[in-house]
Point group: C2
Chain length 206, copies 2
């Protein structure tokens, strides 16, 4: 009686379960340390299901990466593309969103997998390539959405501002994971304020 699902539905449901289970195990054990058996068990399935849905471990890693990082990157893009809001509002919203994804979900889950993927990609060219298309989509911008006009950050080429902000993002995620007592999630908005506050202009009043 349980089996009221069509074959396709079963398959896609199992695939999703595997993706979410893999994400959880990746966060707990690291990608290297995650065994396909544990992923399958976490999903309530067996390794057969893994190899039925993915060509191997690398493909599973890629799929999880797209499933989670892609979703998060999209959320950030959506948040930043409210181009009509003043930049200061965007900075505030972005800071809050960051803190939420630092502690939300399943206990640091997003922060852990984000760091894991970056480190893992460092040693796996295939993963690296796809991760870069996620992190640095080929869009040229005239000004970084988080750099309010008049801030020192806005004086940089937007690609440099982007790299700095992404560095602070992933770095604070890692440090918050390692030592939340020294680097609480609330510190990110503070740092963002520093970078986006109006610069001391060299021509005081015009």
């Amino acid at each position: 009686m349980v089996e009221r699902l069509t074959r396709q539905e079963q398959r896609t449901r199992n695939r999703l379960r595997l993706l979410e289970a893999a994400e959880k195990v990746f966060a707990e054990r690291g990608i290297q340390g995650a065994s396909l058996d544990e992923v399958a068990a976490e999903a309530g399935l067996t390794k057969g299901a893994v190899y039925s849905n993915f060509a191997g471990k690398e493909e599973l890693v890629l799929a999880v990466m797209w499933h989670r990082l892609g979703e998060e990157e999209q959320a950030q893009a959506d948040l930043l593309m409210c181009a009509d809001r003043p930049a200061d509002d965007l900075v505030k919203m972005y800071g809050e969103h960051w803190a939420a994804t630092a502690r939300g979900g399943d206990q640091d889950l997003y922060a852990r997998v984000a760091v894991e993927f970056m480190v893992y990609a460092t040693r796996h060219p295939g993963i690296r390539e796809e991760l870069l298309t996620l992190l640095f989509p080929p869009t040229e911008m005239r000004r970084h959405p988080l750099a309010p006009p008049g801030s020192a950050l806005a004086d940089l080429p937007p690609e440099q501002a982007d790299a700095i902000l992404k560095s602070l993002d992933i770095g604070m995620r890692l440090l918050t994971l390692l030592a939340p007592e020294h680097c609480p999630p609330e510190l990110f908005p503070t740092a963002l304020d520093l970078l986006t506050s109006p610069k001391a202009d060299s021509s005081p009043e015009g």
Copy 2:
């Protein structure tokens, strides 16, 4: 004729070789992925030498951490404790030192192991504890050495400024490893400038 070394000298020399070999293998394979066999082989020894010099893998990891991170932290402390230099000079020197350790040595070696240790410590409480004593020694400061008076950074509690700078440090190391084409090492001094430049003061002229 090769054996002109006393027993103690042999031992300490082998121990050092193992430490440096381990550092290299950790950087190449990651700490999890590094096998003791490969570490020993890299040192021109065998696993017996490893277990003769270290209680196990965890002890080896700890020893490498102290050997390298301790040395680097000391170098930074030495650099920052030239308390007589103006803060701007310190910022400049620190930025240059950073770029040097991002590309120096054996091809990103320091950056790789620094990231590796932090990620590894995230899941190994023993490692974490010792790493925290390295990263956050119990010294209270009245002002962060890299926060010039008058900069926005100097308005923060020095512990917060420290956490922000450390986040940027490790984050940019990771991003530079992953995508040097988008995040070149020269970007760190730029980011440092942003954080340490004079703030736009709210009382323009007094």
